[in-house]
């Protein structure tokens, strides 16, 4: 299973990106292409999820949705305490890192969804709804954890602080959130019949676009490989341990919430993933004292590749064991 995952186009494209940086190739994706790919992927994901949602009853998703929100509340706290106690990181750095581990990486979600489908365990169609539910609570809880210390520091420096409303507005109006939630609404409103004419565009190109996106992720991670030395072994170890813990918890909660093997695998992966789009700007503006090298390296160079290569098959294995 691990070998088949290693040879999947997504993983191979990621390593092509890392390799290109290692050999100091000039290869890079134009910024506009990256933006266009993420727009396409997030909107396609949202619309498809919305169409699936239109065919479900509220009761069918209420329990998995509740389990997802519960996960969103637990993961920032568990990450924070692990980072404080096992990692001995400062309160502000722990809160900054916890905000990343409490939120979700949409691209990891997509990779998990593709993996589960390839294994014959297609996840529930409403999983994108759960993705949007998990996006913001973790960031807020973790930022609140760092806020006491940060506001004390702010008083001393006299720097202006941002209100909770301001942070909430930023997260909810972020490009990724608008595309996902907007896509869900469009899909929900137009239903399967309305979706049919656009389906070839949104589904036909999805996997290929994701491969290109993973190439860019590889380039980003490759460019930051040297930062591993700066963050130290403790953070690298926690960057692997936290996803295993959160992933297993996510699979467990997903299983008891009635999700299929594929659904539990994807929920576990969502919990295990660390955001690298929504969390960094929110953390940067709210906890500017936190070291960005820690959270960007942990999220992009440690946890993302770990989940992509080892984590997703592992959560799938846990889900199959639980189901049997």
């Amino acid at each position: 299973m691990l070998r088949s995952n290693l040879l999947s186009p997504l993983v191979l494209a990621f390593f092509l990106g890392v390799g290109a940086k290692l050999i100091r190739s000039e290869l890079s994706l134009p910024k506009d292409l990256y933006s266009s790919l993420s727009l396409y992927l997030l909107l396609a994901l949202g619309i498809h999820g919305g169409v699936e949602l239109s065919e479900r009853t509220f009761e069918a998703i209420a329990v998995p949705a509740g389990a997802t929100i519960l996960l969103g509340c637990i993961t920032p706290l568990s990450a924070y305490f692990l980072l404080r106690k096992a990692g001995r990181f400062s309160r502000i750095d722990s809160a900054a890192l916890a905000a990343h581990y409490g939120s979700v990486s949409a691209v990891t979600y997509m990779a998990a969804s593709q993996f589960a489908t390839r294994m014959g365990a297609t996840p529930e169609g409403y999983m994108p709804t759960l993705l949007t539910l998990l996006e913001s609570p973790g960031i807020h809880i973790a930022l609140a954890l760092g806020a006491i210390k940060a506001s004390k520091a702010a008083k001393e420096s006299g720097a202006p602080r941002r209100s909770t409303g301001e942070i909430l507005h930023e997260i909810l109006t972020a490009r990724s959130m608008v595309l996902l939630v907007g896509g869900l609404l469009i899909g929900f409103l137009m239903g399967a019949e309305g979706y049919a004419p656009t389906k070839p565009f949104f589904e036909g190109g999805f996997k290929g676009a994701l491969v290109l996106f993973l190439l860019e992720m590889g380039l980003i991670a490759g460019a930051r490989l040297s930062d591993l030395k700066k963050v130290g072994l403790r953070l690298v170890s926690l960057g692997v341990a936290i996803p295993i813990l959160h992933g297993s918890l996510g699979v467990l909660l997903g299983h008891y919430a009635g999700l299929s093997v594929g659904g539990a695998t994807v929920l576990g992966t969502m919990a295990a993933s660390a955001s690298y789009i929504a969390a960094p700007p929110a953390v940067r503006m709210t906890l500017p004292e936190a070291n960005p090298t820690y959270y960007l390296t942990a999220s992009l160079v440690v946890t993302f590749p770990f989940n992509l290569v080892v984590g997703i098959p592992l959560y799938y294995k846990v889900a199959t064991i639980l189901a049997s």
Binding site: A159, P160, L296
Partner: protein, 106 residues
């Protein structure tokens, strides 16, 4: 042609700070600004705060007192915690009215 002397203020900052700098410049009386997405290296090496290693370059033309005040505000508010540089140069502009706006207090 009758050029007037003004200042061109340039701020290169991490992307997350962009809207804050723009708001500050406008609230102090800058009548407009130019925003460019840039890359590069500074005293601490390449940009490390954004996943894509990008920075924002914000430029605005304004009278000298406003330029000094904007740079002082940027220094006080953001130098300690953020990756940001700012500098100004003398420029000569035509249609000077384009660069003057009622100055408000922040």
């Amino acid at each position: 042609m009758n050029p007037s002397k003004m200042k061109l203020v340039t701020v290169v900052c991490e992307v997350a700070l962009t809207s804050k700098i723009v708001e500050l410049a406008k609230s102090l009386g800058a009548s407009g600004f130019t925003l460019t997405d840039v890359g590069g290296e500074g005293s601490e090496g390449r940009a490390f705060d954004d996943a894509h290693d990008r920075k924002s370059k914000i430029e605005f033309v304004c009278p000298a007192p406003l330029a000094s005040r904007a740079m002082k505000e940027i220094q006080d508010r953001y130098f300690s915690d953020y990756s940001v540089i700012t500098y100004s140069i003398d420029v000569e502009v035509l249609r000077v009215g384009k660069f003057k706006k009622e100055v408000s207090r922040v």
